[in-house]
Amino acid sequence: MAAWLGWVIESNWTDPFLFAVYSIVKPISGAAILVVMYGIVTQGNFDSALFPYIYLGNAFYIYVGAVMTGVSWAVVDDREHYKTLKYMYIAPIYIPLYLLGRGVARFITGSIAVFITLAAGILFLNVKINFAEVDWLLFFVTLILGVVMLALLGLLLAGITLTVARHEGFIGEATAGALYIFSGAVFPLDVLPEWIRPVGYFMPTTYWLELLRRSLVGNVAQAFPTLANFSNLEILGILLGLSLFFGAVSIWVFKVCDARARELGLIDRTTNY
């Protein structure tokens, strides 16, 4: 039910042009900017292993923003825009499940954007993926595990969003932006100063992006030293462990924030902001 509602809100087919801009033009433009920047910095060296590393990391990072902020944005949407959050709260539903359901729609629109970005890269930007060598099992297992992990992280942000009356719309974006730096999305973690790298090692998104790259372009990804000493199975284990850890933390944080929001009377507070 929540997923259906989210889809209606996200797709808003009443204006197909805007939906096309949102779903197609935006991710391609984002990727194109990155490609142009890469081309200038490397003086057009698109044969380097760094190029697919960056391109794939950037493409799959769309999920981080879409799924994570999709879940937390539902709080802002229902509380501020539709003024329905209080009615959801008094209904006999499990609110975290409802919010996760709302994130499903963002996962679908995010998937469209990821697919289009990958297709554009392969067809027009010389991103080389040999489909015969793709480890599909690893790819889909990693993708699903990662999306669940991102949705649970979204729940953590949703909890924080509940307790924040202003600027709540930026929480998701700020977190996604921070993870962009520390997850090795567009550059290997080795580029970061040594003292700050542990932050990246603690982020499940780091291992998720690494495994996605390995499943699609295995050899190229292993050319980078960051996680080269770990096998695919080991990285999958770390990803699973961190996902469980962050999942448990997210549910706990949401419960604490939910109680706090009820104490402070924030469930139905609108700021007109």
């Binding site: 509602l5 209606v8 809100i9 003024k83 329905t84 209080k86 008094i90 209904a91 006999p92």
Partner: protein
Amino acid sequence: MSTSLAIETKDLGRIYKLRGSKKETRKELVALQDVNLTVERGELFGLLGPNGAGKTTLIKVLTTLLSPTSGWARVAGADVHAEPDLVRPRINMVSGGESSGYGLLTVRENLWMFSQFYGVPSKEANERIEALLEMVGMKDRIHTKSSDLSTGLRQKMNIVRGFLTDPEVLFLDEPTLGLDVGASRDVRKFIIEWLKADKERTLLLTTHYMVEADELCDRVAIINKGRVLACDTPSALKHRLQKDVLFEIQVSPLNGLNQQMLVDQPEVTKAAITETETGAKLSLGLVEESALARVINLFTQRDVKVMNLNKREPTLEDVFVDLVGRSMAEEESNERS
């Protein structure tokens, strides 16, 4: 539900901590204080008070949206703070004066979605939606996107959303706020019919419209500044005042005459003043009818002209004035200032 009480509160309190500037200490706003209420099953109970009296805060606590800071409350037999999951399947709420809902969804879709959250079978939900929309006179708008509805119709849709799940206890917070006269009448009629259909249904209604409380409610609690000042049937509340003779007088500008001067008159038991475009409207309670002459004499001394004068039966507004010392409108403007 094991108890015959639909709602019970004991010493219920709610204090808001207000955040000022960084240098200021945190201020506290007492929204509810020592509220003790019992509402029987099948009762239509009214909370009457001016804006800011604490009515909405009480509803928020009773619907599990807000934790109390002292005391306790039980709804449908369950503690609203400790057992919200037991309370929620049995209640529903509608807030008036707001246009909530998903504008992209049609009226039917909006209502159907909420019915599914309460586990109403889809076929039954659709039948209820049609029947309820028929009752509020908007069945022809069932396939209209809610963003295309007027504010009044969207409010009616929300009222239907509240009734759709057939709750044991329904909370209506100012349900007719912002509705035109005809729509308000329809809603009041609908509320009465809904309650008549099942004697187990309980409805708690907040309003600052005296007529609404008087017309609808089995019992009324008058609330001001977070405290319940009186609680009884409307007729019993009004009966308290029948020792007084009540007059409503329309006068020209008061020329310095104020409420205190009127109350200081030995024959005047209470006085409320409402400013109007042409002067003022006075609601006076007098110990006996003959005292009117002396009040008129006071007007004459101040060159205040009487434009209209009516003797009338006491209303809940008079009860409020008797309890608070001011009319509800005066109380609201006093709170604002």
